[in-house]
Assembly symmetry: C2
Homo-oligomer: 313 residues x 2
């Protein structure tokens, strides 16, 4: 695979993950259409295995490993959903998964990793502690690192959600997804630009707007431990995802914490599906009419929420 | 339409509601399959318009009215989901809806009725107050009563969920749905017995087990103001639904309040969809292995829950 993944890489990923991943449904809500002033098509990756799109990328990366590498096991660092996804993908292949997780990750995400048979190694919630801890794990176990987004196979896997969406809904004007490290938005942009005339729009919390700033300034400007309820959106772009976003002309918009929680509650109440704050940012952007278009696809990225610590109720 | 609705009535209802109702998805969960010891297919009527299967029956009944009756408007009494469904169906036909609701109905259900343009008339949470209040409303407005379950058109409409399920999943051993007044379970039994070899199994809260007692004793033995968290399951069978359940050989099982809340939380956490306690009873029955079969369809009846008053968190 070349450095920047292509639509062919995404098609190969789709074939690889097909026996294991759900084809997730596309849901609509007339109430939300009315509020957004557009027809909105929600691609429900919250209903994906492991509760998030992350299973697509992790599964593709794990299944693409040659046997002699796979048997050494896999390892990663993740704020949560990639962690569970990698543990599940490793279980499917029958190999060990070592997962470095920040100590402030939601309890439900830690429990999910352990439920899939993964080994959790805690670190402090800083970039430095993450990197030191994962380096120690790799040295100790010999496992293969599967980075949550700085990995062409992972990006190609994430792109299978948009590939699937393009086969489910015609004639979209825009496809919207959240931006953290940029794996999902990169895969989405590659698939969407190859298959349709739709624009790809990324959404960030105002408090974690590194992609918006980086694209504006033409260089990577990482966020440092940003404070946002969207616990899946605290990472920053890497060279690979930054390059994809520039090449594909991805637009970025930002939303507030308050609008994110409102959008999350609206989706729970009106659509009867659980989405996590990291998925709600895209809904907020559409409700605030920050995304142009009459027909808008929204990738609901995940639904892993700790029911004991809801931002409402 | 004859007194007991037939599969042909259900097919006519399906044609009538098709332009308005969602074809709801069927979701699966490997975790729940493992716990239940069966493959379980969840028919997601919680994702139906109005958040419950009730829209199917109300829509069929409202659309089946002759013009000269329809223009007088419709009225009903309901603990909640039929109320919202009738208000929505009336709005689609452009006629008024008068809804008698018990004063202890969840706030979210009252708000839903008003959101669809229905007029709410409060009553005390007793059968007598309900009946007196609806009689007053009918006398005052001249509206047509659309009973939540003692109505052949409503039953035929509810049966369209099982009709749809039969086209989505093959070779089921059993189809499971909750029992309150019996509209859903009657429509389910008529469709299921006509289209497949699957048994129909109804589920009640232990505290509201009038259908189980009535079928056992061969006569209707109503529950009187039963105390259960399943606020949609507090009604009792009528002659019409009792007759259908006897004719179609419906089995009834019961589940505890505690198992209902556990099942509800499990579905939220693992399947990422909101279900209300009245839907969770069916899941509890399957998890407790009270339903025989290797392939089981479960009609998740609704997802209307007050997020400010959850039984967990």
């Amino acid at each position: 695979m070349s450095a920047l993944p292509s639509i062919e890489d995404i098609r190969r990923a789709a074939a690889r993950v097909a026996p294991h991943a759900h084809v997730t449904p596309v849901l609509t809500s007339r109430t939300i259409d009315g509020m957004a002033g557009a027809r909105v098509f929600f691609k429900c990756e919250n209903l994906q295995r492991g509760g998030a799109f992350k299973f697509r990328g992790a599964c593709n990366a794990v299944l693409a490993l040659p046997d002699e590498e796979a048997r050494r096991g896999v390892a990663t660092h993740s704020s949560g959903n990639h962690a569970a996804a990698l543990a599940l993908a490793a279980r499917i292949r029958g190999i060990p998964a070592h997962i470095v997780m920040p100590s402030n990750a939601p309890a439900v995400k830690r429990a999910a990793v352990e439920g899939y048979g993964g080994r959790v190694v805690a670190c402090a919630p800083t970039l430095r502690s993450r990197e030191e801890t994962i380096a120690g794990v790799l040295a100790e176990t010999g496992a293969i690192l599967v980075h949550p987004y700085d990995d062409a196979h992972v990006i190609a896997g994430q792109g299978t959600a948009a590939l699937e969406l393009a086969s489910q809904v015609e004639d979209l004007d825009a496809v919207v997804a959240p931006v953290s490290g940029g794996g999902l938005i990169s895969g989405t942009a590659i698939a969407t630009s190859a298959l349709s005339r739709a624009r790809t729009v990324g959404v960030e919390p105002e408090a974690a707007d590194d992609a918006a700033r980086s694209l504006r300034e033409g260089k990577i400007l990482p966020s440092n431990d940003p404070k946002t309820i969207a616990d899946g959106l605290r990472a920053s772009l890497c060279e690979l995802t930054f390059a994809v976003l520039r090449e594909r002309g991805v637009e970025i918009v930002t939303v507030s914490e308050e609008d994110t929680v409102k959008a999350m509650r609206l989706v729970w109440e009106r659509m009867k599906i659980l989405i996590e704050p990291s998925a709600a940012v895209s809904v907020a952007a559409v409700l605030l009419r920050k995304v142009q278009g009459a027909r808008i696809g929204v990738i609901l990225s995940g639904g892993n929420v700790d029911l004991s610590a809801l931002p409402f109720a």
